[in-house]
């Protein structure tokens, strides 16, 4: 069996393909690049990849179509959406449809690398790609799922709406497992408004990579979990309880809840 190629990138822009390839090769990954959805799907059917990087705007069929076809074909390779139409709506939709992450263009090398690392670690954890078309483990096998009453943005972050209307925001255990040991956490400023699918905090891991946490729901910040600053390891130990990030007042609750996945369906 040929060694699985690490990464497949699907993007119609040559400079993007070349750039990604350059960065990945420098990072020691093997990579293939195609320019449209059809070729991408063809490759996915033939080869086994560890990770797919896919643009949303492609000729003929878009990135969502690729996601869809992959699901139908039972291809479980994790997919990261990259897109030039960096509107948050795209991000939210992608994550709901099953993409494991979202990187808006233009991205720096670091942003790309962090994303790839997370994706690959996720793939390892799920034991995907090691065997062709293996179904891999369930997410709950490798990480603690979110409590039933939570709602999650893809597999990245969660929000819990409490009885008094306050929203509690945090990261998922799976996300924390996909980053190396956390070194530091950075919040955003208090008087900033959080917007769904926009970065709301950054986590720096021991390997020097910086990971952005995408916010699950728009709102105004009430409090930040300041005790995470000296003890960022709480994020790994207890992400759903004492490892919460923010308390917010949601500004568009009803509408945005539709874009999240209720955690009750993971059980």
């Amino acid at each position: 069996m040929s060694k699985a190629v690490d990464i497949l990138v699907i993007d119609d822009e040559q400079v993007v393909r070349e750039g990604v390839c350059r960065v990945c090769e420098a990072g020691g990954f093997s990579i293939e690049a195609v320019g449209d959805a059809a070729s991408g799907l063809e490759r996915l059917r033939k080869e086994v990849y560890r990770l797919v990087l896919c643009d949303v705007m492609l000729p003929e069929f878009d990135g969502f179509h690729v996601l869809d076809m992959m699901k139908k074909a039972g291809i479980t390779t994790p997919l990261i959406m990259i897109t030039g139409c960096s509107t948050l709506q795209n991000a939210v939709n992608a994550l709901k449809e099953g993409a494991i992450d979202f990187i808006p263009k233009p991205f720096t090398v670091d942003e790309l690398e962090s994303g790839i690392q997370r994706g690959l670690r996720y793939q390892q954890l799920m034991d995907l790609g090691a065997f062709p078309r293996s179904l891999g483990k369930k997410a709950s096998d490798i990480s603690r799922p979110c409590p039933r009453e939570f709602h999650r943005l893809g597999r990245l972050s969660w929000v819990k709406i409490e009885n008094n209307g306050i929203g509690l925001v945090g990261v998922t255990d799976l996300f924390m497992k996909s980053v190396a040991a956390v070194k530091e956490l950075t919040f955003v400023e208090m008087n900033r408004d959080l917007i769904q699918a926009a970065p709301c905090a950054t986590v720096t891991s021991q390997d020097g990579l910086v990971h952005e946490i995408l916010c699950p729901m728009s709102g105004t910040i009430v409090t930040r979990n300041e005790q995470l600053l000296p003890h960022p390891e709480l994020l790994e130990q207890d992400p759903y309880s004492s490892g919460w990030l923010y308390q917010i007042v949601p500004t568009n609750l009803a509408y945005e809840l539709n874009h999240l996945i209720p955690c009750s369906q993971d059980y």
Partner: protein, 631 residues
């Protein structure tokens, strides 16, 4: 034929025809009846006359007859018969022989009992002994083509002195001794009747013609011409010319229709404008999204390779510095594109709790570069900790971008400053709260869009004073009193105020002004109680309980001012009107109108002050809470 059928469709023509026919029929009947009546009257007159004469003749010859003075009787009869109106006077004896006559040739002739002069009595076998008045007269023609004649028969009844006389001419048994027959020529009377009929006929025809012309003239003036003008206007507007206005067509129904039509056209053009604007914004949004997407790809190339190089040259500090600049500026591009996309996303105005300072920051970031090229500095003076406001952040950002760009444009070469400031205010409703809807007791709308005071629709009330009538436009801003009067009213007088639609009085029965004791004008602001105002021009006292009881309200005041060329007084008044621009070809004239709409939609107010050569200041006031009084 085509022309005629076209003509037949016109209202004016139909009206004229109907009226003409009616007049014709009416006048015709009138003329006919008049002529007949006149004829009958005249005839009756002549008849009476004839009867009288007949009686007179009989009476005047009676004595002579008794004495059998034949010569005398002849003379009398001849004399009387010589009157030109009298055709013949004759006396017939009981046998039917003409014994006396004014026509000598007839004396001695026998008259047939069947002749029409005898018919009245001798029609039956037995002659009538007595004759009624109407039976004694007959109308006939002496000769077929001669004039008409009227004959009166006066039977000479017997009396005692007739048969008792010595001459024994008449026996006792005879009732009727003879007949006096007077024949009158009716030529004269007929002539007069003809003349009179002619006159009536002429009158009738003239009346019909005159009526037709008058009707025709006024129908044309009051109906055909205005309808034609309106028809023309609908064609113009239908063809797309929305700035066409119908000329003033007077104060009647059609005049009102014309006015209403103009209002409708104006509203249509405003609506079309809004549509254009949203169309424009939508295509602008699409353009911006397309541009952003196009830019993002090459930008990715630059950023990816740039940051890559930065990483690779970690051991080359001198290269690092330069590469850092590249990466930093590319990141900045990224931010600008992001804000461009956010800005262009002009979907449904979504109001969310927003931080005004942030919106202003974003707006300034968008225009900062292009503005600084001109040497214009942007100074921000934002009060810290401004509370969040429920606004559409994209629209608000649009407002600021527009105002700042306008401000920068107003600054000529040489540089200048644009200042943007924001602060919190507490304002009492007086001078701030606006009446957006007002009704008379019967429910008619008093707000008029035709007259604006400082850009806001005024409250229109009809005022009556000493027989004169006029309109009063009230300032819709509570307590500001920048009212306009139509009527020339002396100071310190009161006038009657009524609803322009139904005339119902708007003055309060009981209340009195708390300041000067005059009467109070009052109307209802739907859902917000009653609004009272003193009628005295000088006093200006007003009370609006619903708004007063809500107390002072918090507002955020946003100011954009520049040190530019300023705006002249004439232009200042028109500045928020759609399509008004001082930028010639460059300006669309829509910017400020759209801004006005956005601010109005947020229940706020925008005003402008300017001084030529010094600068201009735009002031926006937005209520913090959704005001109950700003329905």
């Amino acid at each position: 034929m085509h022309m005629i059928s076209q003509l037949a469709r016109k209202i004016g023509f139909k009206l004229i025809v109907v009226v003409g026919v009616t007049t014709f029929v009416t006048m015709g009947i009138y003329a006919y009846i008049t002529i007949r009546t006149q004829r009958a009257d005249l005839f009756a007159e002549v008849e009476r006359h004839a009867m009288q004469l007949s009686e007179t003749v009989r009476n005047s010859t009676r004595y002579d007859m008794l004495l059998n003075q034949r010569e005398s009787i002849h003379t009398i009869i001849n004399d009387i018969g010589s009157d030109p109106a009298i055709d013949e006077v004759r006396v017939l004896n009981k046998e039917g022989k003409i014994i006396y006559s004014s026509r000598k040739e007839n004396i001695g002739k026998m008259v047939d009992k069947q002749a029409e002069s005898c018919y009245a009595c001798h029609a039956a076998d037995q002659p009538l002994q007595r004759l009624s008045m109407s039976q004694r007269t007959r109308v006939f023609r002496i000769h077929p083509d001669s004039a008409r004649a009227l004959g009166v028969i006066s039977p000479i009844y017997t009396e005692r002195s007739c048969w008792d006389a010595d001459c024994h001419a008449h026996s006792k048994q005879q009732q009727v001794l003879g007949v006096l027959d007077v024949t009158f020529s009716l030529a004269d009377a007929d002539e007069r009747i003809r003349a009179s009929a002619f006159q009536v006929g002429i009158f009738a025809i003239s009346a019909i013609l005159a009526a037709s012309f008058i009707i025709g003239f006024f129908v044309n003036k009051w109906i055909s011409l205005p309808v034609g003008a309106l028809l023309n206007a609908t064609k113009q507007v239908g063809g797309g010319n929305l700035s066409y206005t119908v000329p003033d067509l007077g104060k009647d129904d059609i005049g009102m229709l014309a006015q209403s039509f103009n209002t409708m056209t104006m509203k249509l053009s405003e609506a079309r404008l809004q549509l254009f604007q949203s169309d424009k914004m939508a295509s602008l949004g699409r353009l911006a999204a397309g541009v952003a997407h196009e830019i993002n790809n090459p930008l990715t190339g630059v950023l990816t390779y740039g940051s890559f190089l930065l990483k690779r040259t970690q051991n080359h500090p001198e290269l690092q510095e330069d590469l850092k600049v590249v990466v930093r500026e590319t990141l900045r591009c990224r931010e600008i594109v992001k804000s461009l996309l956010d800005f262009a996303r002009q979907s449904i105005p979504k109001k969310t709790a927003s931080d005004m300072s942030e919106i202003i920051d974003r707006a300034v970031a968008v225009v900062e570069h292009q503005v600084s090229i001109k040497g214009v500095k942007i100074v921000k003076s934002l009060e810290p900790h401004l509370p969040k406001m429920t606004v559409d952040p994209n629209q608000m950002q649009q407002v600021f971008v527009n105002l700042i760009v306008n401000a920068a444009d107003a600054i000529e070469s040489g540089g200048g400053t644009v200042t943007v400031s924001a602060k919190l205010l507490q304002l009492a409703p007086q001078g701030v709260a606006q009446v957006k809807s007002a009704c008379c007791p019967k429910g008619h709308n008093l707000i008029t869009n035709d007259f604006k005071i400082d850009g806001l629709p005024a409250i229109r009330v009809k005022a009556r004073y000493e027989g004169e009538e006029g309109f009063m436009m009230l300032d819709p801003v509570y307590g500001r009193n920048r009212n306009h009067f139509d009527l020339n009213v002396k100071a310190r007088t009161e006038f009657e105020m009524v609803c322009p639609e139904c005339g119902i009085s708007l003055l309060e029965e009981q209340g009195k002004c708390e300041k000067c004791g005059s009467r109070l004008l009052s109307f209802v602001v739907p859902s917000h109680g009653e609004f009272e105002a003193c009628v005295s021009k000088e006093c200006g006292w007003q009370r609006w309980l619903a708004v007063d009881s809500a107390g002072k309200q918090e507002y955020v005041e946003l100011i954009v001012s520049d040190t530019g060329v300023g705006i002249s007084k004439e232009n200042l008044a028109k500045i928020f009107e759609p399509f008004f621009t001082t930028k010639g070809q460059k300006g669309t004239g829509l910017g400020l109108a759209v801004i006005w709409g956005i601010i109005d939609n947020h229940d706020g107010t925008i005003s402008v002050e300017s001084e030529l050569g010094v600068g201009t200041t735009f002031t926006i006031r937005l209520p913090l809470k959704r005001q109950p009084a700003q329905a």
